[in-house]
């Protein structure tokens, strides 16, 4: 197991370095550069040159990358002139908010999607399955921003049941205004439920066709025992993997949701950074999301291996 973990960690580091190099190069290929974006349209060439020098932007690309990388390794992700704050502080403020939004939404999605997926698999090709398939397919094929707009129009503008804007201010402010969280959470939950339930349905159907299920049935095991004693655990493995690998999808979903609902999370931070050429923040967000994705994937693999002996065996883990 230790060897497996070390191998996966090494892979993760290589992935992170590659991601940072690619993003760093792509960002610096953008026209204009950060000085113009920050100093404005009427900045003189002297202003731009002074800014570049003061911020180490006048060196070669490799030198700039090395400067940034050594800073990151020492915990310094850089400083955002657009936000007038260190990137670490910005991420420190925004990450918990996004994690909170995504966490609640994913937990809700799993709690809803698992029973739906099971129900559909067990009742496959019956009325209930068809109805739920239709609903989930509609939600699955609807972009998150569209779901958000419909929810706002119906629940906030027409019915005035909940606010159209997410809670503002500190993290504690989020908790003090739960009504304002309803629409952003609902948007992500609906989109995620659709994806998860389709996957769970397929996973459970696969398991129901396995030999061990037929064996259990032939030995007289009841449906309840088969489903919850055997199928649930075995079909949970792919679901755990799905959860780990869906992190980028969830983050991109929160970006759109945060944008629409004015939710002050990492997604919004990334969006604003992209529109204002806030290089340090963009790099910081990409690195953090990439790290979270790699770690999520790693955790999913390990959990899958723990849950499923076949995976341990295939990976040579003892």
């Amino acid at each position: 197991m230790t060897r497996f973990l070390l191998r996966r960690c090494a892979q993760a580091i290589v992935v992170l370095i590659l991601v940072s190099v690619i993003v760093f190069c792509l960002l610096h290929m953008l026209p204009g550069g950060p000085a113009r974006a920050i100093l404005g349209v009427h900045a003189t060439p002297t202003n731009v040159a002074a800014f570049n020098k003061a911020n180490g932007l006048d060196g070669s690309l490799p030198a700039q990358y090395w400067h940034w990388l050594t800073g990151v390794l020492s915990g310094n992700l850089g400083f955002s002139y657009v936000q007038n704050e260190s990137v670490s502080a910005l991420l420190g403020q925004r990450l918990p908010k996004t994690a909170f939004l995504a966490g609640i939404s994913v937990v809700l999605a799993v709690l809803i999607a698992v029973p739906i997926g099971f129900f559909q698999a067990v009742r496959r090709q019956r009325v209930g399955d068809y109805v739920l398939t239709t609903i989930t397919l509609v939600l699955y094929s609807t972009p998150a921003f569209w779901v958000a707009i419909i929810l706002i129009d119906v629940l906030a503008v027409r019915l005035h049941v909940v606010p159209a804007e997410a809670p503002q201010g500190s993290f504690s402010a989020l908790l003090s205004d739960p009504q304002a969280l309803v629409l952003p959470v609902l948007t992500i939950t609906l989109v995620t439920v659709a994806a998860f339930s389709r996957y769970i349905r397929s996973s459970v159907l696969d398991e129901l066709a396995q030999d061990y299920v037929r064996m259990a049935r032939s030995k007289g095991a009841g449906s309840r025992v088969i489903l919850f004693g055997h199928v649930l655990r075995n079909s949970a493995g792919p679901v755990v993997t799905l959860l780990g690998l869906s992190l980028p999808f969830i983050v991109s979903g929160t970006l759109i949701t945060e944008y629409v609902f004015n939710y002050p999370g990492v997604g919004l931070l990334a969006f604003n950074a992209a529109t204002s050429q806030d290089y340090p923040v963009m790099l910081g967000v990409v690195i953090v999301v990439a790290a979270a994705t790699v770690i999520g994937s790693l955790l999913a693999d390990v959990t899958h291996a723990v849950l499923d002996p076949r995976v341990r065996s295939a990976a040579g883990i003892r």
């Binding site: 953008l30 026209p31 204009g32 550069g33 113009r36 974006a37 920050i38 100093l39 404005g40 349209v41 009427h42 900045a43 003189t44 060439p45 002297t46 202003n47 002074a50 800014f51 002139y81 657009v82 936000q83 007038n84 704050e85 502080a89 910005l90 403020q93 925004r94 706002i152 906030a156 503008v157 005035h160 606010p163 159209a164 804007e165 503002q168 201010g169 500190s170 945060e258 944008y259 629409v260 609902f261 004015n262 939710y263 002050p264 919004l268 931070l269 969006f271 604003n272 529109t275 204002s276 050429q277």
Partner: protein, 605 residues
Amino acid sequence: MRRSLRRGLSAIAIAAATLAAAACSSGSGAGSSAGGKPVSGGTAVYAELPGSTPNYIFPMLTAAYYSVTNIEQFQRLSFRSLYWIGNSKGQPVVDPSMSLAATPVYSDNDSVVTITLGNYKWSDGQPVTTRDVAFWINMLKANKADFAAYIPGEFPDNLKSYKIVNAKTIVLTLNGSYNPTWFTYDQLSQITPLPQQAWDKESASGAIGNYDETPAGAKAVFNYLTAQSKDIATYGTNPLWKTVDGPWTLVNYQSGGYAKFEANENYSGPTKPKLKYFVEQPFTSDTAELNVLRSGNSIDYGYVPEQEASQAGELASQGYSTEPWQGWGTTYFMMNFNNPTTGPLVNQPYIRQAMQSLIDEKSFVEGPLKGYGSTNYGPVPSKPSNPYSDSYETTGPWPYSPSTAISLLKSHGWTVKPNGVSTCTDPGTGASQCGKGVKPGAQLSFNLPYASGDEVVSQEMQALKSDFSQAGIQVNLSSEPFDTIISMMTPCTPSQAGCSWEMLNYGGGWTYGVDPYPTGDQLFETGSGSNSSNYSDPEANSLISATVRGTASLKAYEDYLAKQVPVLWMPQPDYQISEISNKLQGTNPQSPIESLTPENWYFTS
């Protein structure tokens, strides 16, 4: 909406009397549907424009933080300038009643300025004195390269010396004679007296001293205050920012631009705040803000995005009134006078005049701008109402007239080919020939990249292409990212690689914020820092100089520039289509330089 009543019966009585007076005297309000009784206290929420969030509190700010949002909509709430621009009629002129000092007195052939302060106090009870003015000047002299508004040759370079006569009077001796209006508006209005008794120190634990009186000390103080201003997490709690002479004190600031101000109970200015709190609320996008407006009343002072202007009237059902906010600026797009190929063409005034005659500004205002803008034919805006623009410039020497454009070209040796490309068939420098540098067979064809992402600009450019073709002027449009456009916008010489652009439209122009007296010296004088189109005209230089260093009015300058067309003037869009709750009154007029004065606002029951 979060509101609270001010404590104390006497305070309520005084406030009620003040409110009644304000309501009677100005009659300013959000909309005609407003009624009800003025109430004291409450919290007004103002929606910030996307991407325009405040993030710097120290008034002597560097270029990276230099913005209308930081200066006029954040710092000015707490730290007032020596001379306040924007009067009760919404004109971009000094308002003596809102200024910290009386109208300056110029003497010795306008080379000596005597400034007398009014009876203002800091929130800690100390008077605002000339020492506080000197504190600003000393800090600026030692750190001018770091101050965003610094222009070489201007303040404080043009200040020979100053002398504090007493706590209320300070005398500035200049290095020459200057136009008093220009000097007051464009130089003195930038001075923001700073609380020397609270800020003149080199570290948080250091003692207050007179460190600013030496260059090294002034640098140390500047560095300390700058570092404090970069610690935005402490904005709401740092004692430094609690010593204010404005009507508002920042009590809560969140990363991202959320700012909550509390009324300064010790404010000594003419209009005491009636509200208890004023909140600036950031928004991710126009859409998010509009959704909130449509869903109810959690915003008291918001806006309708330009592209959604048609929704303005619909918000009336939610209790909002639409109030267009006209900014003090001029909109245009540029031609590169130094481009090796097209430079000789645009250096001919008649070609520029022909192009200006093909811009149908009125239809742009009615069409893409949906009525929320005004025609603009020169460097001095005709709106908002102001004492500078004259009828010649306002009506425009080159209003939309394709026949005039065709006539101008034909009379200068061009064979005009409508819907094709006109060609120079009579080269030479004679009065009826194409002009200096224009080669035989030269064609009126220009590449015109414009900033993407703005629907109005895109519509205007498409219409312009069509209008230009009527006189055989071909523009090859391309939509480019904003950053690509502004990266090209640098002064250049013909031999430089970066001088290959022919025309550019970044979708904006010039806002007369820190230079409210619109002399255009930064835009159109030869070699000036923001003269990105490389325009150079000795007559224009002379006229500009007369408005800055002489006593000439703006008339000759503005009429000449309107006629010469150094840039292609475009309609001036409104700064914002404000949507103001009918319960919030006192919001009009909206400041021409886009500052906020919530001390004038109050709710009605």
